[in-house]
Protein backbone atom coordinates (compact mmCIF):
# COMPACT_ATOMS: atom_id res chain seq x y z
CA UNK A 1 0.00 0.00 0.00
CA UNK A 2 1.33 3.46 -0.93
CA UNK A 3 2.13 6.25 1.49
CA UNK A 4 -0.04 9.29 2.20
CA UNK A 5 1.14 12.88 2.75
CA UNK A 6 -0.58 15.88 4.31
CA UNK A 7 0.31 19.35 2.98
CA UNK A 8 -0.42 22.18 5.44
CA UNK A 9 -0.22 25.74 4.09
CA UNK A 10 -2.66 28.66 4.09
CA UNK A 11 -1.75 29.31 0.45
CA UNK A 12 -3.62 27.03 -1.98
CA UNK A 13 -1.02 28.03 -4.58
CA UNK A 14 1.79 26.75 -2.39
CA UNK A 15 -0.03 23.47 -1.69
CA UNK A 16 -0.32 22.93 -5.46
CA UNK A 17 3.36 23.83 -6.00
CA UNK A 18 4.50 21.44 -3.26
CA UNK A 19 2.35 18.66 -4.74
CA UNK A 20 3.82 19.33 -8.18
CA UNK A 21 7.36 19.40 -6.75
CA UNK A 22 6.79 15.99 -5.15
CA UNK A 23 5.77 14.55 -8.51
CA UNK A 24 8.70 16.26 -10.29
CA UNK A 25 11.05 14.85 -7.66
CA UNK A 26 9.73 11.37 -8.44
CA UNK A 27 8.15 10.97 -4.99
CA UNK A 28 4.84 9.17 -5.42
CA UNK A 29 2.18 9.29 -2.71
CA UNK A 30 -1.03 7.30 -2.92
CA UNK A 31 -2.98 10.21 -1.43
CA UNK A 32 -2.09 13.89 -1.04
CA UNK A 33 -4.31 15.47 1.63
CA UNK A 34 -4.43 19.24 2.18
CA UNK A 35 -5.11 21.56 5.13
CA UNK A 36 -5.01 25.36 5.28
CA UNK A 37 -3.92 25.69 8.93
CA UNK A 38 -2.94 23.69 11.99
CA UNK A 39 -6.52 23.16 13.13
CA UNK A 40 -7.54 21.59 9.82
CA UNK A 41 -4.34 19.54 9.85
CA UNK A 42 -5.20 18.03 13.24
CA UNK A 43 -8.65 17.07 11.93
CA UNK A 44 -7.09 15.32 8.93
CA UNK A 45 -4.56 13.48 11.10
CA UNK A 46 -7.37 12.27 13.39
CA UNK A 47 -9.45 10.96 10.48
CA UNK A 48 -7.01 9.76 7.79
CA UNK A 49 -3.96 7.52 7.63
CA UNK A 50 -1.08 9.96 7.07
CA UNK A 51 2.57 8.86 6.83
CA UNK A 52 4.24 12.28 6.78
CA UNK A 53 3.24 15.95 7.10
CA UNK A 54 4.79 18.89 5.23
CA UNK A 55 3.79 22.05 7.10
CA UNK A 56 4.21 25.81 6.79
CA UNK A 57 4.93 27.81 9.96
CA UNK A 58 3.22 31.21 9.48
CA UNK A 59 -0.50 30.45 9.15
CA UNK A 60 -3.71 31.99 10.52
CA UNK A 61 -5.91 30.27 13.17
CA UNK A 62 -3.20 27.82 14.26
CA UNK A 63 0.39 28.27 13.11
CA UNK A 64 2.92 25.51 12.49
CA UNK A 65 4.53 25.73 15.93
CA UNK A 66 1.18 25.52 17.75
CA UNK A 67 0.22 22.63 15.46
CA UNK A 68 3.36 20.73 16.46
CA UNK A 69 2.69 21.41 20.14
CA UNK A 70 -0.94 20.26 19.93
CA UNK A 71 -0.05 17.20 17.83
CA UNK A 72 2.62 16.18 20.36
CA UNK A 73 -0.08 16.11 23.07
CA UNK A 74 -2.33 13.69 21.18
CA UNK A 75 -1.20 10.06 21.64
CA UNK A 76 -2.85 8.76 18.45
CA UNK A 77 -1.00 11.11 16.11
CA UNK A 78 2.06 12.34 18.01
CA UNK A 79 4.50 10.03 16.22
CA UNK A 80 3.56 11.05 12.65
CA UNK A 81 6.68 12.75 11.24
CA UNK A 82 6.55 16.44 10.24
CA UNK A 83 8.83 18.42 7.94
CA UNK A 84 8.52 22.22 7.90
CA UNK A 85 8.35 24.13 4.57
CA UNK A 86 8.56 27.84 5.29
CA UNK A 87 10.13 31.21 4.61
CA UNK A 88 11.29 31.01 8.23
CA UNK A 89 14.94 30.01 8.57
CA UNK A 90 15.94 31.46 11.93
CA UNK A 91 17.66 29.12 14.36
CA UNK A 92 15.20 30.14 17.07
CA UNK A 93 11.98 29.19 15.30
CA UNK A 94 13.39 26.17 13.44
CA UNK A 95 15.00 25.08 16.70
CA UNK A 96 11.64 25.37 18.44
CA UNK A 97 9.99 23.33 15.67
CA UNK A 98 12.63 20.62 16.01
CA UNK A 99 12.26 20.60 19.80
CA UNK A 100 8.55 19.90 19.23
CA UNK A 101 9.29 16.97 16.93
CA UNK A 102 9.84 18.40 13.44
CA UNK A 103 12.43 16.35 11.56
CA UNK A 104 13.83 19.24 9.54
CA UNK A 105 12.93 22.14 7.27
CA UNK A 106 12.89 23.26 3.66
CA UNK A 107 13.18 26.98 2.92
CA UNK A 108 10.83 28.66 0.47
CA UNK A 109 11.60 29.20 -2.39
CA UNK A 110 12.64 25.62 -3.13
CA UNK A 111 13.33 23.32 -6.08
CA UNK A 112 12.00 19.76 -6.55
CA UNK A 113 15.60 18.58 -6.07
CA UNK A 114 15.72 20.24 -2.65
CA UNK A 115 12.42 18.60 -1.67
CA UNK A 116 13.82 15.22 -2.76
CA UNK A 117 17.09 15.80 -0.90
CA UNK A 118 15.37 16.51 2.42
CA UNK A 119 12.23 14.39 2.17
CA UNK A 120 13.60 11.36 0.32
CA UNK A 121 15.65 9.93 3.21
CA UNK A 122 12.63 10.19 5.54
CA UNK A 123 10.40 7.90 3.46
Amino acid sequence: MGKNVLLVDDSSTMRKIIGRSLRQAGIDFENIYEASDGLEALEVLESKKVDIVLSDINMPNMDGISFLREKAARPGIKDIPVLMISTETGDDIIGEAKSLGALGSIKKPFTPDKVNEVLGPLL
Partner: protein, 156 residues
Amino acid sequence: MIDQAAVGEEIVKGTKDVFSTMLMVELESEEAVLNQRLALQSNLSSMIGLGGGIRGVLAVHCPASVAKAITSTFLGMDVEELDEDVKDAIGEIANMVAGNLKVSLAENGLAIDLAIPTSVVGESFNITGVAKAQRVVVPLRMNGELFWIELMYVVN
Protein backbone atom coordinates in the same frame (compact mmCIF):
# COMPACT_ATOMS: atom_id res chain seq x y z
CA MET B 1 20.52 52.13 10.51
CA ILE B 2 19.64 50.49 7.20
CA ASP B 3 21.27 51.53 3.94
CA GLN B 4 18.25 52.05 1.67
CA ALA B 5 20.17 51.38 -1.54
CA ALA B 6 21.48 48.13 -0.07
CA VAL B 7 17.94 47.15 0.92
CA GLY B 8 16.83 47.83 -2.65
CA GLU B 9 19.60 45.56 -3.93
CA GLU B 10 18.58 42.83 -1.50
CA ILE B 11 14.96 43.08 -2.65
CA VAL B 12 16.08 42.75 -6.28
CA LYS B 13 18.30 39.77 -5.44
CA GLY B 14 15.63 38.07 -3.33
CA THR B 15 12.84 38.63 -5.87
CA LYS B 16 14.97 37.33 -8.74
CA ASP B 17 15.76 34.26 -6.62
CA VAL B 18 12.04 33.60 -5.98
CA PHE B 19 11.15 33.90 -9.67
CA SER B 20 14.08 31.86 -11.00
CA THR B 21 13.59 29.09 -8.41
CA MET B 22 9.79 28.80 -8.37
CA LEU B 23 8.73 30.05 -11.81
CA MET B 24 11.87 29.39 -13.90
CA VAL B 25 11.67 33.03 -15.05
CA GLU B 26 14.57 35.48 -15.13
CA LEU B 27 13.52 39.02 -14.18
CA GLU B 28 15.03 42.31 -15.30
CA SER B 29 15.37 45.09 -12.75
CA GLU B 30 15.53 48.88 -12.91
CA GLU B 31 17.04 51.34 -10.48
CA ALA B 32 15.28 51.54 -7.12
CA VAL B 33 13.32 54.69 -6.34
CA LEU B 34 13.96 55.99 -2.82
CA ASN B 35 11.64 58.04 -0.63
CA GLN B 36 9.17 59.03 -3.33
CA ARG B 37 5.45 58.35 -3.18
CA LEU B 38 4.62 56.93 -6.59
CA ALA B 39 1.17 56.33 -8.08
CA LEU B 40 1.82 52.81 -9.33
CA GLN B 41 -0.41 51.54 -12.11
CA SER B 42 -1.30 48.39 -10.23
CA ASN B 43 -4.49 46.34 -10.31
CA LEU B 44 -3.50 43.87 -7.59
CA SER B 45 -1.33 44.49 -4.55
CA SER B 46 -0.25 41.89 -2.01
CA MET B 47 1.03 43.27 1.26
CA ILE B 48 2.78 41.70 4.21
CA GLY B 49 3.22 43.44 7.53
CA LEU B 50 6.68 43.63 9.12
CA GLY B 51 7.45 43.82 12.82
CA GLY B 52 10.31 43.27 15.24
CA GLY B 53 13.42 45.30 14.33
CA ILE B 54 11.43 47.35 11.86
CA ARG B 55 7.74 48.08 11.40
CA GLY B 56 6.19 48.60 8.03
CA VAL B 57 4.89 46.88 4.93
CA LEU B 58 6.35 45.03 1.97
CA ALA B 59 4.06 45.04 -1.07
CA VAL B 60 4.04 43.50 -4.53
CA HIS B 61 2.15 45.76 -6.99
CA CYS B 62 1.10 44.22 -10.32
CA PRO B 63 -0.89 45.36 -13.34
CA ALA B 64 -3.57 42.77 -14.14
CA SER B 65 -1.62 41.35 -17.08
CA VAL B 66 1.48 40.71 -14.94
CA ALA B 67 -0.50 39.27 -12.02
CA LYS B 68 -2.20 36.82 -14.38
CA ALA B 69 1.08 35.95 -16.12
CA ILE B 70 2.82 35.25 -12.78
CA THR B 71 -0.08 33.08 -11.59
CA SER B 72 -0.32 31.24 -14.91
CA THR B 73 3.40 30.44 -14.83
CA PHE B 74 3.31 29.56 -11.13
CA LEU B 75 0.36 27.16 -11.42
CA GLY B 76 0.88 25.98 -14.98
CA MET B 77 -2.64 26.85 -16.10
CA ASP B 78 -4.50 29.58 -18.01
CA VAL B 79 -5.72 32.48 -15.87
CA GLU B 80 -8.47 34.75 -17.20
CA GLU B 81 -9.28 37.14 -14.33
CA LEU B 82 -8.02 38.48 -11.01
CA ASP B 83 -9.63 35.72 -8.96
CA GLU B 84 -8.75 34.07 -5.64
CA ASP B 85 -5.99 32.00 -7.27
CA VAL B 86 -4.27 35.18 -8.48
CA LYS B 87 -4.59 36.92 -5.10
CA ASP B 88 -3.22 33.83 -3.37
CA ALA B 89 -0.32 33.40 -5.81
CA ILE B 90 0.84 37.03 -5.62
CA GLY B 91 0.44 36.86 -1.83
CA GLU B 92 2.77 33.90 -1.75
CA ILE B 93 5.28 35.78 -3.93
CA ALA B 94 5.15 38.63 -1.38
CA ASN B 95 5.65 36.10 1.42
CA MET B 96 8.76 34.59 -0.17
CA VAL B 97 10.26 37.98 -1.12
CA ALA B 98 9.72 39.16 2.48
CA GLY B 99 11.20 35.88 3.72
CA ASN B 100 14.36 36.42 1.69
CA LEU B 101 14.58 40.01 2.99
CA LYS B 102 14.17 38.70 6.53
CA VAL B 103 17.14 36.35 6.04
CA SER B 104 19.22 39.16 4.55
CA LEU B 105 18.44 41.60 7.38
CA ALA B 106 19.10 38.90 9.99
CA GLU B 107 22.59 38.42 8.51
CA ASN B 108 23.09 42.13 9.21
CA GLY B 109 21.92 41.84 12.79
CA LEU B 110 18.32 43.01 12.33
CA ALA B 111 15.62 40.49 13.30
CA ILE B 112 12.17 41.06 11.80
CA ASP B 113 8.84 39.23 11.99
CA LEU B 114 6.46 38.63 9.10
CA ALA B 115 2.66 38.73 9.19
CA ILE B 116 0.26 36.84 6.92
CA PRO B 117 -0.02 38.33 3.39
CA THR B 118 -3.15 40.22 2.31
CA SER B 119 -4.09 40.83 -1.34
CA VAL B 120 -6.39 43.53 -2.68
CA VAL B 121 -7.71 44.23 -6.19
CA GLY B 122 -8.17 47.83 -7.30
CA GLU B 123 -6.37 50.56 -9.23
CA SER B 124 -3.34 52.80 -8.71
CA PHE B 125 -2.41 51.85 -5.13
CA ASN B 126 -0.67 54.20 -2.75
CA ILE B 127 0.37 52.93 0.68
CA THR B 128 0.36 55.35 3.61
CA GLY B 129 0.10 54.95 7.35
CA VAL B 130 3.57 54.73 8.87
CA ALA B 131 4.74 58.18 9.98
CA LYS B 132 8.24 59.23 8.87
CA ALA B 133 8.65 55.96 7.00
CA GLN B 134 11.51 55.23 4.61
CA ARG B 135 10.33 54.03 1.23
CA VAL B 136 12.06 51.84 -1.37
CA VAL B 137 10.32 51.01 -4.65
CA VAL B 138 11.99 48.49 -6.95
CA PRO B 139 10.72 48.32 -10.55
CA LEU B 140 11.06 44.87 -12.12
CA ARG B 141 10.13 43.43 -15.50
CA MET B 142 8.79 39.97 -16.25
CA ASN B 143 8.87 39.25 -19.99
CA GLY B 144 9.19 43.00 -20.55
CA GLU B 145 6.16 43.97 -18.41
CA LEU B 146 6.63 46.18 -15.38
CA PHE B 147 5.66 45.45 -11.77
CA TRP B 148 6.98 46.76 -8.46
CA ILE B 149 8.12 45.68 -5.01
CA GLU B 150 7.62 48.42 -2.41
CA LEU B 151 9.08 48.46 1.09
CA MET B 152 7.91 51.10 3.53
CA TYR B 153 9.50 50.93 6.98
CA VAL B 154 10.59 52.60 10.17
CA VAL B 155 13.48 51.15 12.17
CA ASN B 156 12.40 50.48 15.76
